[in-house]
């Protein structure tokens, strides 16, 4: 299946990426080649096969850890904000969302 430049632009919007013209060109070509390879999956009849699920993985079944739902101290405001590009008065700062 070919991937048009319009589709690449739309996917980039969905993924919150602002691609340059050159990237749109390059990605439409490369993604088309990759999707062409992926299309060989259509050779397989999967009508009677269930989609894979984590817990269906054989011996892994029922081995996963579940802990009691008890409230415990978390990271805390100071540590949580320490790596933020901008913060003030216990909050993350971002560019204006409404108005302006």
């Amino acid at each position: 299946m070919p991937i048009t430049k319009a589709e690449v632009t739309k996917i980039a919007q969905l993924a919150n990426l602002e691609l340059s013209e050159a990237e749109v060109d390059q990605f439409s070509e490369q993604l088309a080649a990759i999707v062409k390879h992926i299309d060989q999956l259509n050779e397989l009849d999967t009508a009677d096969v269930k989609p894979w699920q984590q817990r269906s993985a054989g011996a892994l079944q029922a081995s996963y850890a579940v802990r009691d739902d008890v409230v415990e101290p978390s990271l805390g405001t100071d540590k949580s904000l320490a790596q933020a590009p901008a913060h003030d008065a216990g909050h993350f700062l971002v560019p204006r969302v409404i108005g302006g």
């Binding site: 993924a15 919150n16 990605f27 390879h37 560019p95």
Partner: protein
Amino acid sequence: MNTNPTIAEIHGLYKDGKKPSEIVAEFLQRIEQRNPQLNAFITVNREGALAQAVAADATIQQDLAQKPLAGIPVAVKDNLCTEGLRTTCASKILGDYQPPYTATAVRKLLDAGAIILGKTNLDEFAMGSSNENSAYGPARNPHNEAYVPGGTSGGSAAAVAAGLAPVALGSDTGGSIRQPASFCGVIGMKPTYGRVSRYGLVAHASSLDQIGPLANCAEDAARVLRVIAGRDRYDSTSANVDVPNYLASLSGDVKGLRIGVPPECFGEGLHGEVKTKVEAAIARLQARGAELVEVSLPHTKYAVAVYYLISTAEASSNLSRYDGVRYGVRAEDARTLSEMYRKTREQGFGAEVKRRIMLGTFALSSGYYDAYYEKAQRVRTMLVQDFERAFEKCDVIVTPTAPTPPFKIGEKSDDPLAMYLGDIYTVTINLAGLPAISVPCGMSSEKLPIGVQFIGKPFDESRLLQVAQCLAS
């Protein structure tokens, strides 16, 4: 100290009176000399390692009896969080990120007495097969610096091979421990999904990611795995399965072991020299009493397609968190919130990461979900069933780790599909959640390492280590 000292040898030096601060200083000096060429480390933890070592000097004799990795320097892949020590994932978007917590696997190493030498290079967010997708420049193969060390744990593999660290941690989503181990001539193990906690491992594809050791011998891989394995309350997918004493299984005896050989993995696309060396390794095991059984993995040729749909779908979701709000770098010149998101991600991510986010977003998008993502999950079930059937007839399965010996830096970097197809033998194991190990099995005519891969049943890492030990002895 030898070029590649084992954990037991370093412990022997401590028993003879050598101090951790002396051993650590020696490794730091090696890193200082060799890292400018190899670029195996993104961050060297010079002061932290020396401080840890000096503290260990006073207690090393008692520690040797109590802590399995007392005074052992380790290298840690730079997608594992280390509190207070920069963690970059080889991406510009994380900047000088200082994690507020330490990954469970790293915490367990520290509790066992290990000393962190530094954080090793990788493909950005562990996406790649050559270590060329690093914002900090490619790591290089210590056997020949014009060649890639493999990826994505290329820095960890290069560091262990070059003797810059005795052991290292890597992570493996589709071969990222095993393929660089193969390319650098060291042992690398991807444990069973759930064997090692993923808490603090920066997520790439959460149903595939697993942390594991890289080492120069099976014994050291066993020692590290024993320390990092086990259930963790911070990772609900970590398995509640007992951790055996892996060292006890290292007899090197393979008598009666049934080794499955799938012809699908020895045909078209396999480099002649790799085939020869892998077959020679199989013959050595047969000579030691192992029994060969033909098994079939009929859907192998679809594995790369399935892998690159599922891993990119999961990655596109996982990487949505890099938005310039809570950590990392933010684009400066944005006026609105959504513009800030887009510009931050455009400026912060490298080409391969963007490509995978695009592919994953495509696979999950309305109108394509059924045809691509769900189709891939159905074929994933078929791949898992292939292994279940094969393991009815054998104890381990053998394949090459990679279809070729190491390639040159720049050789494949313009052709992403060619790069992806090189992952054919490793990605299926992650899709099936199984353990696998890459073991060196010879050198190519260009004097570059070749690796053989052994795949085990779930939680049967012991048997893989036993086979690795046998090949080395």
